[in-house]
Symmetry: C2
Subunit: 218 residues, 2 copies
Amino acid sequence: MTRHIPVVEKILSANDLMAARNRDMLDSVKVYAINVMASPGAGKTSIILKTLEALHGSLRLGVVEGDLATSIDTDKAIAAGLPAVQINTGGECHLDAVMLADALPRLPLSELDLVIVENVGNLVCPANFQIGTHMNVLVASIPEGDDKPYKYPGMYRGVQALIINKIDLLPYVPFNMDYFRQGVEILNPGLVTFPASAKTGEGMDDWADWLVTRVKSG
Amino acid sequence: MTRHIPVVEKILSANDLMAARNRDMLDSVKVYAINVMASPGAGKTSIILKTLEALHGSLRLGVVEGDLATSIDTDKAIAAGLPAVQINTGGECHLDAVMLADALPRLPLSELDLVIVENVGNLVCPANFQIGTHMNVLVASIPEGDDKPYKYPGMYRGVQALIINKIDLLPYVPFNMDYFRQGVEILNPGLVTFPASAKTGEGMDDWADWLVTRVKSG
């Protein structure tokens, strides 16, 4: 007799259960949360800091910073005046719901409207783990190239908003925006998209205005 | 009585065993192989194609292209006249030694001196899986930012050469080369490093000359 041991299935189910609990907890304290994912160096931290500026105080923001090993991003967030909690994954390639469950109570949630969770820089693994936020946001980056939706479909399928960062570099790198957008549309029809530059600030107001609307509508 | 089931340990051991077999097989046919790793969009494929040009026929080159889903990179390699084999990982975030064992016999190894294996774009997971090549090469990229050694230490520790690609973008992005190199030196003292641009061709001859020396010395 053959016995099957569904290890991966069990792990995912446990994670999903914990993600649902995180979501319930966030709802109970009326805090909206988003999970920001991207390749290494696409500009997640810069986008978060520029989002703070673009919000002009209309939402009270806290952040959870996921990183393999360092607190570089958390230090930047704290320097910008944000309540920030660090998750060091100890080499793990993604955040999971248990890590977020440990981190959330360390933020002053009763004083916040929005928590931005910055996932580990990875365009593959984080897409497989819900963590209990209300929305997944992907930060693409112009110098990564226009073929990324085609090559990393799992990530592009699983998000509710896409920021296309570093558009200030468009004159200096080959990037066919139509080809990129076609790939996005195939995988995630009608996805809300914000061309932006954390460096110049272009596009950040549109993104922040939309985010405010989403948070206020719950 | 508690029983411990060391699942991860067994998987890694099986992979290491298969990696050693790949290495023996490559040695038996006198083919040198390198494992090229990087973030998504750092320019692995472009670097490989420019390496072909910079070799000026001094080595007979074949490639193995790892990708989650598409054959975009393999198509480019074949268009450049290279013998190329595709590994679609089906969503897996890294290549492993079994995948390479399946791919290598599909190349005309007896007609080759060097096989370049392009891993999945990921700065975390591929560092944990030896595949049986003779050397691990990391392609960093200027627009990724200067903090990547600190944030992805596992990858920077496990390589024998580092190409710093897209140096043509240095005027347009914040990147402190001293800070970057300090991080590399802490993790991997004396690592051989090649500042380069696949776009302009700068630095490619130095890299190709060094690679030829390494291949010819076995």
